[in-house]
C-alpha cells in the first residue's frame, strides 16, 4: 500500500519523547512539514540519549543536560509542542484523539507511536521490590542509584547482557565490589558468539569483577525492607549492598493493544513502519517489523533513528521500504565494541586479529556474512557494515587473514 503525502498542514501527534519520538519530530520539520506537531512524553526531561546512562552518566562524567538531544529552545523554535510529564492513556481511533492521563485530549490526523520499552523487573515474590534493587532505563533510575556508587559497596548485577556488563564496568571502575550473575550457561548468550563472550569474560575478570555463569537467582533477602543478600539456585548466598537488574526489556505495547492494533512481539508494522491502522505508525524499541522471512524488533539507537526517519519520509510523501541496517556499540573500560549486522542464525565464526590489540569476530551462515563484532577495531567495523549493507560476503578465509586489506574488499 502506498501512502499519499499528507496535507502539509495535517496534525501529527507523537507518543513517547525518546530517541525515535525526537527524531521523527525533528525530521518532519527538516522535510518541511508545516502542520502542528505534538510530542508527548511521560518523563519530566526533554528527550535524551540513553546509552550514556550505563556509561559516562553512571560514572558521573557527564551532567544531565549534556544528555539532551537538543536544548528546550529547539522545540519552541520549530513549533514542536513538547508536552513533558504527560502520559498518553488511550487512543480513540474513531474520533482520532489521544487522551492524556491528566484528562486533556489531543486530536491527530496521523499518529506515531514511539513508546520504547521498559525493563523487565525481578518479581516481588523473590524480593524484586526491596529497596536497593534498581534497573537501568531512565534518568530517574540512575539518579536513584547514584548514592550507592561508593568505593567498596557490594553490587550484584543480575544479567550478563550488554547493559549488565556496562554497569559492571562502571561499578568496577569506581571501586565497588562487583558480582555479575547470569542464569544462562554464558554471558551474552542471546546476542553474541562464545568468542565475544569469552573476550568480555576475560576483560571483566582482569578488572576484578566476579562473573558467575549458569548462576540463577533464587531470592533476594532484605532487612528492614532493604536488600542485603542474594541466594542463588545452588544454595550459595552473596551479601550485597544493592542490586542492578539487567534482565532485558519488554516493548511498551499496551496503549496500542488497547486501541486494537496488531501486536506481535511489539507493535506490528509493515515495511513503511505503518501499524494495522494506516493512520498510525510506530518506530523504535516498541515496533516489530518485517525482516527477511520473519519479523524482528531491535533495541538500538540506530534502529530508532532510521525507523523514525522512515516514518517522516512516508508522511511527507516519499515512502521508501524501511531497510534495517542493524548496528550497535558498547563501551566497557577501555574497550569499544562495535557490531554491524544481526548474528541470529549463524553457524560459524571466523576470528580476525586486528592491529593494536583489536580483534573481530565474523559471523557466517554457510557462505553468507551475517554480522561482525569488532573490539577496538573501528576500521573493521566500518568495512563490515558496508559489506553487510551491500549484501556482500567475502570468504571467511580472506577476512580471517590479517594480511588482507579489508578496504580493498569494498571496491
Amino acid at each position: 500500500m502506498r501512502d499519499e503525502p499528507i496535507d502539509p498542514c495535517a496534525r501529527i501527534v507523537v507518543i513517547g519523547a525518546g530517541q525515535a519520538g525526537f527524531t521523527a519530530c525533528a525530521k518532519l520539520r527538516d522535510l518541511g512539514h508545516q502542520g502542528p506537531i505534538t510530542l508527548i512524553g511521560e518523563e519530566a526531561h526533554p528527550p535524551y540519549q540513553r546509552p550514556p546512562l550505563s556509561k559516562g552518566y553512571l560514572l558521573g562524567e557527564i551532567t544531565e543536560d549534556r544528555l539532551y538531544f537538543r536544548p528546550p529552545s529547539f522545540y519552541e523554535e520549530r513549533s514542536i509542542d513538547l508536552r513533558l510529564s504527560s502520559m498518553a492513556s488511550a487512543i480513540d481511533r474513531d474520533r482520532k484523539v489521544v487522551a492524556l492521563a491528566d484528562g486533556a485530549t489531543v486530536p491527530y490526523d496521523r499518529l506515531i507511536l514511539t513508546t520504547g520499552a521498559r525493563p523487565r523487573t525481578l518479581p516481588a515474590q523473590i524480593g524484586g521490590d526491596l529497596d536497593g534493587v534498581f534497573c537501568v532505563r531512565n534518568l530517574a533510575d540512575i539518579n536513584a542509584m547514584a548514592e550507592h556508587f561508593r568505593q567498596d559497596q557490594r553490587v550484584l548485577i543480575v544479567g550478563g547482557g550488554y547493559i549488565g556488563l556496562e554497569a559492571a564496568a562502571v561499578s568496577a571502575k569506581l571501586g565497588l565490589k562487583v558480582t555479575v550473575i547470569e542464569a544462562a550457561p554464558r554471558i551474552l548468550q542471546r546476542v553474541a558468539c562464545p568468542e565475544t563472550a569469552a573476550y568480555f569474560r576475560d576483560l571483566h575478570d582482569r578488572k576484578g569483577v566476579t562473573l558467575l555463569e549458569g548462576a540463577a537467582l533464587e531470592t533476594l533477602q532484605g532487612e528492614e525492607g532493604h536488600v542485603r543478600s542474594a541466594r542463588l539456585a545452588d544454595g550459595s548466598v552473596i551479601p550485597v549492598d544493592f542490586v542492578i537488574a539487567g534482565v532485558g526489556v519488554v516493548p511498551n505495547v499496551e496503549l496500542a493493544q488497547a486501541a486494537g492494533l496488531s501486536i506481535d512481539n511489539g507493535i506490528a508494522v509493515d515495511e513503511n513502519c505503518r501499524t494495522s491502522d494506516p493512520q498510525i505508525y510506530a518506530a523504535g524499541d516498541c515496533a516489530s517489523f518485517p525482516w527477511r522471512s520473519g519479523r524482528i524488533r531491535l533495541e538500538s539507537v540506530g534502529n530508532a533513528i532510521e525507523q523514525a526517519e522512515a516514518v517522516a519520509w512516508s508522511l511527507t510523501g516519499a515512502p521508501s521500504r524501511y531497510d534495517a541496517k542493524p548496528w550497535f556499540w558498547s563501551d566497557q573500560y577501555e574497550v569499544k565494541l562495535q557490531i554491524a549486522g544481526l548474528s541470529a542464525g549463524y553457524d560459524t565464526v571466523t576470528t580476525r586479529p586486528g592491529a593494536a590489540g583489536g580483534v573481530s569476530y565474523w559471523y557466517y551462515r554457510g557462505e553468507e556474512l551475517l554480522a561482525v563484532d569488532a573490539m577496538n577495531d573501528p576500521r573493521v567495523y566500518m568495512v563490515a557494515k558496508r559489506l553487510i549493507e551491500a549484501g556482500r560476503s567475502p570468504s571467511a578465509v580472506i577476512v580471517g587473514d590479517p594480511a588482507t586489506d579489508l578496504k580493498a574488499l569494498l571496491q
Binding site: Q49, R66, P71, V301, W329, P378, M382
Partner: protein, 106 residues
C-alpha cells in the same frame, strides 16, 4: 569560556561560548547546528559528527586519534583537515576555533 564558530553548510555561522572540556559536537548539538547528526552521542562509534577544521586552526587542534582516524576513513568527503567533532575537546587554547560542517554525513 572559549568562543568557537561552527559554519553550517549553508554558510550560517554559529558563534558559540563553549564550556571547557565539552566537545565541539556537544556545542553544535546544544546550539542546534544543522548537519551534525551525532547518532552515537559522542562515543566515536558512528562518524556522523564529521567537521573540517579551518586551515588556520589545524595545527592547534591536532590530528585525529587512531580510533577516530579509522572511523573517519569511511566518512563522506574526507579531507586532510577532517575530524570527528565529538573527539575535539574545548580548551582555552582553542579560543576562536572555526570548524565547517560538511555537505552531508555518511
Amino acid at each position: 569560556m572559549p568562543r568557537i564558530s561552527i559554519v553550517a553548510k549553508d554558510g550560517t555561522v554559529f558563534e558559540i561560548q563553549a564550556e571547557s572540556r565539552t566537545s565541539v559536537m556537544e556545542n553544535a548539538v546544544r546550539n542546534s547546528v544543522p548537519g551534525i547528526e551525532a547518532e552515537c552521542g559522542g562515543a566515536c562509534a558512528c562518524a556522523t559528527c564529521h567537521v573540517y577544521v579551518d586551515d588556520a586552526w589545524q595545527e592547534k587542534v591536532g590530528p585525529p586519534g587512531p580510533m577516530e582516524a579509522d572511523m573517519l576513513d569511511f566518512a563522506y568527503d574526507v579531507r586532510p583537515n577532517s575530524r570527528l567533532s565529538c573527539q575535539i575537546r574545548i580548551a582555552d587554547a582553542l579560543d576562536g576555533l572555526v570548524v565547517h560542517v560538511p555537505e552531508r554525513q555518511s
